[in-house]
Symmetry: C2
Amino acid sequence: MKIVIIGVGLIGGSFAKDVKRLHPEAEIIGVDKSESHLDEALQLRIIDKKGGYTDLQTADMVFVGIPVDVLMAELPKILDASGEETVVMDAGSTKQSICEQVADHPKRRNFMACHPIAGTEFSGPTAAFEGLYTGKTMIICEVEKTAFKLQERALAIFQKIGMRIRYMNPRAHDKHIAYVSHLSHISSFMLGKTVIDKERNERDIFDMAGSGFESTVRLAKSSPDMWTPIFEQNKDNVVETLEEYIQNLITFKQLILDNDFKNVHQEMSNTNKIKQILKGIPLTKK
Amino acid sequence: MKIVIIGVGLIGGSFAKDVKRLHPEAEIIGVDKSESHLDEALQLRIIDKKGGYTDLQTADMVFVGIPVDVLMAELPKILDASGEETVVMDAGSTKQSICEQVADHPKRRNFMACHPIAGTEFSGPTAAFEGLYTGKTMIICEVEKTAFKLQERALAIFQKIGMRIRYMNPRAHDKHIAYVSHLSHISSFMLGKTVIDKERNERDIFDMAGSGFESTVRLAKSSPDMWTPIFEQNKDNVVETLEEYIQNLITFKQLILDNDFKNVHQEMSNTNKIKQILKGIPLTKK
């Protein structure tokens, strides 16, 4: 089996590690615009060798883990270069623009639109680790547009890795992911900003910060290169979630200002049901 | 050594466990308005026996871990009942109201105003665990108002547990803790609310939620009984932090609406420096 990983960072690199574990005989070829990332990936044995788009013609499987703006530009070229029997999977956090971008591509049937719900706030080959995907959800969009034989090949790998598969249309994906992922990132970034701005001259104050703060601002460590194009491609949904979030914060603030602590309590009590919801979310162990 | 723990939940119970580890000979007496919590604490060997305020007269040390509204009412009575040689420490997340409440108490010198920066989103005796305080910060306010000998006794315990001590005035404590703790909780609760409201009828959607979402809404599992009085007592500071946070969110949303993704990137990039800040925060391992 010949597998090409385009983008050998956290997402592509971790996928490569899982595939290598399951298929030690597989040849894993890395493609990345960063030569130093490729060197790191080689050194970390994430890939077997460096390659290029010329390797796509004979690849069984191509996994693309690159920022979604680069993906928009590269995916048509990747499909152009792929063989008739190659399955190309992306891992982009937006799906509608991506699916539209290749909707009329002559090799659309070679593409499977994927979004693995997995990741950490770190990036690059050094962030990659075996097991990132185990127990996580793989969302697949427009599965009917992928050739059946190629679907099977991709699904077999995902199932061996231990992922649960969910099928969705790209519009629904982008709408819901704005709530459960994109909004979390913005709330975290702005929380970090608010505190940094305030406490700029009082470094000792961070002695007062506990694990609760750490947890809520963890995502503010995320890569702006990755997240800026996600917010751009999912602009309408992201703005909608932000407006609702801001309105909820304004309402909560007003309850405090009005000394309506009965309803402050009630709001928190209603939201405690998140406990039940979170039970279903597999944690990333690393 | 005779130690009375008032409130045998996560905070008081974990303190009891650390003290017992360091001083196996200590007699640990539990006081709690909940009889079932006392029974649990006995069963979990958090306390050696149940007691009441009559035990305070002969106690060497009293640790009070109860919601701050109850603390306001009980602390004067606790000091009334304490002996001349008893040191009473609280663990309240607000300090100004508490310190004002006992400013003129005849036994003010028996009180040490404390806020350990430690906790989890869970509560009750079953949430208590050994090591919660290890490596964490203990903030002490108005230390000069505590009798020197009693300061020494309290500090000896904190140091043995492995806490780092920081001295602050109550006003500064309440101002800064609003940023690094209270705001995190509200941002998390409102994030949880926004998502629950939206996704009420689409339970499967939470399959799409990953560990990033889990991390940012973790604090929304926290106890409303504990947090409502904190927001009430620290109302002015909490409202100020909320206003700044909301303004930052509005500005970020506007950048997206204006397609100003250069500045969206810049904002996130500036906030990435939170990485350095977070390095100083000890994580709660459990």
